[in-house]
Symmetry: C2
Subunit: 193 residues, 2 copies
Amino acid sequence: MDDHQQVRRRDSSASRAALLDAAAELFAERGYDRTTVRDIAGRAGVNQALLFRYFGSKEALYAAVVARAGRDKLAEVPPNELFAQLLRGILDRQAGQDHSSQIMLRSSAEDVSVKAIGQELGQDYIRALSVLTDAPEADLRAHLVLAWIVGIDLMRADGGLSPLASANPEQVVACVLPAVRTLLERIKDISPE
Amino acid sequence: MDDHQQVRRRDSSASRAALLDAAAELFAERGYDRTTVRDIAGRAGVNQALLFRYFGSKEALYAAVVARAGRDKLAEVPPNELFAQLLRGILDRQAGQDHSSQIMLRSSAEDVSVKAIGQELGQDYIRALSVLTDAPEADLRAHLVLAWIVGIDLMRADGGLSPLASANPEQVVACVLPAVRTLLERIKDISPE
DNA sequence: ATTATCTATAGATCTATAGATAATGC
DNA sequence: ATTATCTATAGATCTATAGATAATGC
C-alpha cells in the first residue's frame, strides 16, 4: 500500500526488498518459468536491470526468495498444527499474505535446477511432519501428506472450474484431515506381501 | 523400436502418428511449456515444419494428444479400480507405457489456456470417481482424490530426492488407499459449524 | 501432377550486460 | 565522489510461415 516513495527516493535496500516481495508473489502465483524478470521489476516498481545488479540472476533471486520464505512460518507453527496451517494457507489466498507455502509447493512443478532450490525448504517441512507418526515409513507418509497439499494447491489454481477453488476452506479441511490422520496414525502394517 | 522407415519412406499418417507419440511422451515428462516443437519433431524423427502442417499449432497438437489419451484408459477400467489404477499408472514409469495419467495430471500445472484442454479429460475422471461415495460433497471428494495423485506425481518427478521416487509402488498404494477410503466412505458429516 | 518434406527466416520473446545518467552524502 | 538507476542492446531462445525441393501414384 504505502511504499515510502516519498520518504527515500533512492534506496537500494528498499529496491531490494521490493524485488523480493514482488518475486515472492509472482513465483507463488505463476511459478518460476512463467514469471519474467520484467514482470518482477514491473510489480516492484524498479528498473529491470536492478534485479541483476542486486541478485545476479533470476535463479539467485529465486533462491533468495525461498530462503526468506523458509525462515518465517516453520519456526512459529508447532508440528501438530503444521498440516492444517499449510492447508489453510493455500486455501485462502488473500492479498498481502504469506506466500511461503505456495513458493515451496510450486517448486515441485519446476525444472530440475530450480526445483532443487525449492526442495530444500520442502525438506524442513517433511522433517516437521514426520515426527507426527510412529508408523513405519514415517518419511514416506510425510511426503505423501505434502504431496496432497501440492496437488490441492495446483488443482485450485484452475480459476474456478474445480469445486476446490470455490469450496469453503473449512469444508476442505474437514474432508482432508481425517484422511490424513488415517495415513499418519491408524495403519501400522504396510509391508507388501 | 521398429518404426517402418524402410517400408514406407513417405507417409503422412506415419509422420502424424510419430508426432502424436513423441508429443505424448514429452508432454507427460516435461509438461507443455518446457517441451519445444523442435524436441517433439526431433524425437518423432520428422521435420519440425510438419508439426504445423499436420496440427496447425503446438496447442492444437496438445489437444490432439489429450483427446487420444482420454479415449483409452477410462473406457476399460471399472470405477472402483480407477484410483488404484491411476496411482499405479504414475508410480511405475516404464518405457512404452500409457501416458494418459501424466498428461492429464501435468496439465494442472500448466498455463490457463493449456490447462483448460487437459481439464476436460480430468472432468471425466472426476465423474467416474465421484460415483464411489455416497457421502455429501461427492464431487469435492473426487477432486481431492485426484489432487492427491497430481501431487504424488509431481513430487515423484524429483529425480530421486523424495522417498516417493524410490518407494515400492505397492507400499505407496498400501499407505494411500486406506486414507482415500476414509475420505470417500467413513466421514458422513462435514458441514462446517 | 500431387503431396510429403525440408530450408531459411520472420517476428516475438527472454535473460543478461555494458555504459550512460542522475541523485545522494561527505 | 560515490552509488543508485536507466537506456539500449547483445545473444539466445521459441513458435510459426513461405517457398523450394524431392519423392510418390496415376
